[in-house]
């Protein structure tokens, strides 16, 4: 069977473009969620903030400037078709080169330190990126990119619950993380949750869930129900836009689950701010 060839340069250019588009153009899913929230929000300050965020998105799009100065760490989930061949260099290098190009040429901020302790700034502009690769059937390369802000990432958490904590324990834990985050994660939020797997899988599931568009429900009926229930409960916390009070604390809740060990119940909560910046390209 023939193997399809995908060229290094094409990946670089597509990634560079995605990085800029993600930062300049807020997705329609987020815009629509703002508009829907504006109709329901009861707090005057909350409404004012939502209106300013819509205006901010407009300015960013028309002037091609980043909607937020924290242009984030670029996180990728790449679906690599097992029948495709990448020619001209490694996939990791191509993605990092694309990020460097996109961020530098788009006047996006370089926000990466090479050493977490000495805090020495990295040499490659806003790289290295965080790249997750999933091998899938087929010959396409699907790149999902997210510009993930530091404020919301810092308020994220993971806990190894006990199986006896059950569904109530899971719900309480998720609500407690959102309550703790308060204004710091720039609400209204998109709340990503991973349940099951193991320690590192669970965190990955929470991150992966954030790549689904707002309004998209889990295909599992019981999980879709849980997403809706938590969305209601989170919006009753009263945190509101920017933590200044109101009923728009979350724009959506996403949950991904996976099988796990008989002794385990890992739960990870990855918070995303309203600047929920995602792009996808199929090559």
């Amino acid at each position: 069977m023939a193997v399809r060839t995908i060229f290094y340069e094409e990946i670089v250019n597509q990634v560079a473009n995605m990085c800029q588009e993600a930062n300049f153009e807020l997705g329609q899913d987020v815009i629509q969620a703002f508009q829907a929230a504006l109709k329901k929000e009861t707090s005057e300050t909350g409404k004012d903030i939502l209106e300013q965020l819509l205006l901010n998105a407009d300015i960013a799009r028309s002037e091609r400037v980043p909607m937020c100065q924290d242009t984030g760490v670029s996180v990728f989930i790449v679906e690599v078709g097992q029948d495709c061949h990448i020619s001209g260099g490694s996939l990791y290098d191509a993605i990092n080169e694309g990020v460097k190009k996109g961020y530098e040429e788009g006047y996006l901020r370089h926000s990466i330190v090479d050493h977490p302790i000495t805090r020495e700034k990295s040499k490659g502009y806003n790289t290295p990126s965080i790249i997750h690769i999933e091998l899938v059937p087929g010959e396409d390369l699907v790149i999902h990119m997210s510009a993930k802000g530091g404020g919301s990432e810092n308020m994220s958490a993971l806990k190894m619950l006990k199986p006896a904590d059950g569904l109530d324990g899971i719900k309480d834990y998720i609500l407690s993380i959102v309550a703790q985050a308060g204004p710091n994660a720039c609400p209204p939020l998109v709340v990503g949750v991973g349940i099951g797997g193991n320690f590192e899988r669970c965190a990955y599931l929470a991150k992966k869930s954030l790549f689904r568009p707002i309004g998209h429900r889990s295909e599992r009926p019981e999980i879709a129900e849980l997403e809706k229930e938590l969305m209601g409960k989170i919006n009753e916390l009263g945190i509101g836009p920017q933590g200044m009070g109101g009923n728009t604390t979350a724009l959506d809740v996403k949950i991904e689950i996976e099988p796990c060990h008989i002794a385990a119940l890992p739960v990870a909560v990855n918070l995303n701010c309203h600047a929920s910046r995602h792009k996808e390209v199929r090559i």
Partner: protein
């Protein structure tokens, strides 16, 4: 509720009148500093040396803007999370710092020091950096140029929108705003 116009540096009289929850439009001169600049200022003071600018009476904005496009004054310039500056803040307040602009919670130590030193903490809308950039009229490097976006800059602003979160008496709008929501909606407040 209409916004209160404030010119920075802010006068003592105006500052004392501000209440948690007030919407304000800030104009005048402010300084930027975030994590790395705060750390350096803190270490400078520990060594008994002088700060690169006199913080007395001034306002610091916690921001690390994106690079300016050619022809632009500044790139996107929204607030970063203030809590990371908490460790370094009380000593600046003791030196007379009067205003801070950022987003998110402050520690008890910072709030106590704000009450003692009569200072105010404003929040700008996190994630509205494109909109805020329009209110910034000029940018000038003051110190630590090697830190790039984390250097200290002097900004001239006009009608920069913000909300008073913690006033000089220590009232905290993050608590009051949420409480008002519960009262209006007749639901019980719970922090889980």
């Amino acid at each position: 509720m209409s916004a209160i116009q404030i010119t920075n540096p802010i006068s003592e009289q105006e500052l004392l009148k501000l209440k948690a929850g007030d919407r304000v439009l800030l104009s005048g001169t402010i300084y930027t500093a975030r994590d790395a600049a705060h750390k350096r200022m803190f270490e400078t003071l520990q060594k008994g040396e002088e700060l690169p600018f006199d913080v007395a009476g001034q306002t610091i904005y916690y921001v690390g803007p994106t690079p300016a496009k050619p022809g632009a004054v500044i790139g996107s310039a929204g607030p970063t999370t203030s809590g990371r500056m908490d460790k370094y803040t009380p000593v600046l307040l003791d030196l007379g710092l009067k205003g801070m602009i950022g987003k998110g919670y402050r520690s008890e130590e910072v709030i106590e020091s704000m009450k003692k030193n009569k200072a105010v903490y404003f929040a700008a809308i996190g994630g509205s950096g494109a909109l805020i950039a329009r209110t910034i009229q000029s940018v000038e490097v003051v110190a630590y140029e090697d830190l790039g976006p984390e250097a200290i800059y002097r900004l001239t602003i006009k009608n920069f929108p913000a909300v008073v979160i913690i006033d000089s008496k220590g009232n905290d709008w993050y608590k009051i705003g949420k409480q008002q929501f519960f009262e209006q909606n007749h639901v019980q407040g719970a922090d889980c």
